[in-house]
Symmetry: C2
Subunit: 421 residues, 2 copies
């Protein structure tokens, strides 16, 4: 009989208890820590509950400590204390792992503890388990993930309904699909936390999330979404980790996804992880990125795992820090849109700038901005898609284009993602 303790009885914690009660596992919920346990007596029936975290932590009979709180400080204390004692832990807390995973994993490798964290990344998608077992022993050469449901939902609806960011965001907030303060999601930081963890597993070196080049979706204009659609692309917030020519590229930002790419069709609040593997070809995993039962199931799946000893676990070996290479080295085609004065010579100047940076242009077209306030007949959107270019050269070009008199605002640039084959 596996004795578990659950810390935090929010949506996911309650889901875990409900599902465990429908199952016939050799698992006993020995203790629950929750500060508002008084209000949750129905679900807690027959389970020991306390608001004193020490009461639970000090019990030697508990084999597995499951941290489902929010925040960082208390979760860190709980997880570290449990690992210190050589106990196994499960956490759904990606911010905790992004901030302190390096320390926790190394501690666990010394005390022989296992860390289950399936629920911390991409909700219900069993990506950690598959990386830890099925794909073990082969290189993952490229990962691309839609790791945040809220931003994918917003981008999907902007395209489907031709509505601007602020309008869809506020609707998503009303529907409970975006937080009142949406910063963590729309800035990309939540997805970057998850990308940092996934990249660490793939690169086999711990990646500090602060080192990951990150842009959110706040600056995405409907304009660009509609142009993308016209060209057969969709804009998604994508986390990418790739090893190419010996360089480690880790980046999270809005990208233009080709219709040939697995991520093209991942709509609304779904999450997805696409892998290129050394031997097993390309893979795609799709599932719910959030939600009570889907996330709770990832916890249950980690609990079931503890019932099978000797399974490989990412916490079993010591970790070293790794540093992503300069994102300026990343190569891809780019979409660039500049709001320009509609007069002769502008294209020549811009094309000249790209030429000086050895960036070759695949397509150019000019259009009236969808944004009515800019549609004054005197300015036009100049839309350029480049062939594969080095990001640092692209950034320099964009800077020079910005300084042109005929250009009224810094151009938008978004990398274009095609599948490997």
């Amino acid at each position: 009989m596996l004795k578990i303790a659950i810390y935090g009885l929010g949506t996911v914690g309650q889901g875990v208890i409900k599902i465990l009660r429908t199952m016939d596992l050799e698992v006993e919920i020995a203790a629950v820590f929750d500060r508002s346990r008084q209000k949750k007596q129905a679900i807690l029936q027959g389970i020991f509950a306390t608001d004193n975290v020490e009461t639970v932590l000090k019990r030697d009979d508990i084999d597995l400590h499951i941290e489902l709180l929010g925040g960082i400080e208390l979760p860190l204390y709980i997880v570290r204390s449990a690992i210190d004692k050589g106990k196994n832990v499960i956490t759904a807390n990606k911010a905790l792992l992004a901030e302190h995973g390096y320390t926790l994993f190394n501690l666990a490798s010394r005390t022989n503890s296992k860390i289950g964290f399936e629920a911390s990344i991409a909700g219900a998608i069993p990506v950690i388990r598959n990386l830890e077992t099925v794909f073990r022993g082969q290189k993952i050469t490229r990962l691309e993930g839609i790791l945040n449901g809220t931003t994918n939902y917003i981008l999907t609806r902007m395209r489907q309904e031709s509505k601007p960011y602020t309008e869809i965001l506020s609707d998503a907030q009303n529907l409970g699909l975006a937080e009142a303060d949406p910063t963590l999601d729309v800035s990309g930081m939540d997805a970057t936390h998850k990308l940092a963890i996934l990249s660490s597993l793939i690169l086999n070196e711990w990646i500090d999330y602060r080192r990951i080049q990150t842009r959110g979706i706040e600056q995405i204009e409907l304009n660009d979404i509609l142009y993308a659609q016209k060209m057969g692309y969709r804009i998604r917030l994508v986390g990418q980790c790739e090893v190419r020519d010996g360089l480690k590229h880790v980046i999270l930002e809005p990208m233009m996804i080709s219709s040939r790419h697995f991520l093209w069709d991942i709509e609304m609040e779904n999450n997805a992880v696409s892998l290129e593997t050394e031997f097993a070809g390309p893979h795609l995993f799709v599932g719910k990125g959030a939600g009570q039962n889907p996330t709770a199931w990832s916890v249950i799946s980690d609990i079931q795992r503890q019932l099978t000893p000797n399974l490989p676990n990412f916490a079993e070996k010591p970790w070293q820090y790794g540093i992503p290479d300069d994102a300026g080295n990343i190569q891809s085609p780019f979409y660039v849109r500049a709001l320009v004065k509609d007069e002769p010579g502008v294209l020549a100047k811009i094309a000249g700038i790209f030429a000086r940076h050895k960036i070759s242009i695949a397509t150019v077209h000019q259009d009236n901005p969808h944004n009515a306030s800019q549609s004054d007949g005197k300015t036009a959107d100049l839309i350029i898609v480049t062939h594969t270019a080095k990001r640092s050269e692209l950034l320099k070009s964009v800077e020079e284009i910005t300084s042109l008199d005929e250009v009224s605002a810094p151009p938008v640039f978004i990398s274009v993602i095609e599948p490997e084959n």
Copy 2:
């Protein structure tokens, strides 16, 4: 050190050896059985090889027997002999499992053998492993799979290039993507073998593939593919297993996939498995359905598994036969196309037939057949999409429509698949 024997050194077998040589596993290839081993001395360097199957089978030091032959008789003998001795086996042979899985799994549950069969279904996609571990303990309420790469490739190219079945099939044969005798693939039988196995795992009862309602793609006309596209659907050969209202529905045939469904975007020779789960929501797994390394990796993944004892395995409990319920009970919307005389009253008659069978019509339109030989101005395609209807009633309606004087051939009918939510 795990000692393994490999039977059959074709594409996959050679892939397994090549990959194993790049890895640092506690695995020794103790013997290879292959009848043309003389021609394969390069890959066999340092490995004991024989064309005498008994020499390998009788060796007690071999822990794991890996069957990668074609056909049924010899594979059955090898797998059964190994299981009889309480040894573990891996097989990539779906025909073997579809024909004899019931016997083999029950034998294995008695002798405590494990059967690894990841490579037998959907190539590189780790669907067996995930069903066996991650999803264990929750009901899978619905599975839909694209389980045959050749047919998905043919259907994709027919749509993309607006070319008829025979032309794309012969091109696929020239490219090595379809067999000289393509019957097993295009009749749906290969996919039905795999669906039988997947359905067994999900329903927890052994499903005989002969009981599965099966239609292949030989009858699919370009006409229907183009009409489907116009309506926002794609025709794919889909295996479906669903438990609904207590009935077990298992069916494999061409279906019209809604653009909202995960399988809509699975193109060319990719395979995919879409699951609806009790707790973890919808899931999609996509990967290569064939190919040397992708399939070999599924074998490697099963080998690695053997290095971890105590893992759950589908062969660990005795199996009972289950019988799918009458496919006539399956409900879905249907696409029906009839080639009719272009004269007044035909629609009234056909609508009357549907009405008598209590099938309500969602959309009707009439079009000129894309097939030039039928485009004589006197006949037209009448295209009807029904609301959800019982398949048995739909079949009766189709039969009655066939008997109308104004209808020149049995109408085409294809069920329409929408996602759960």
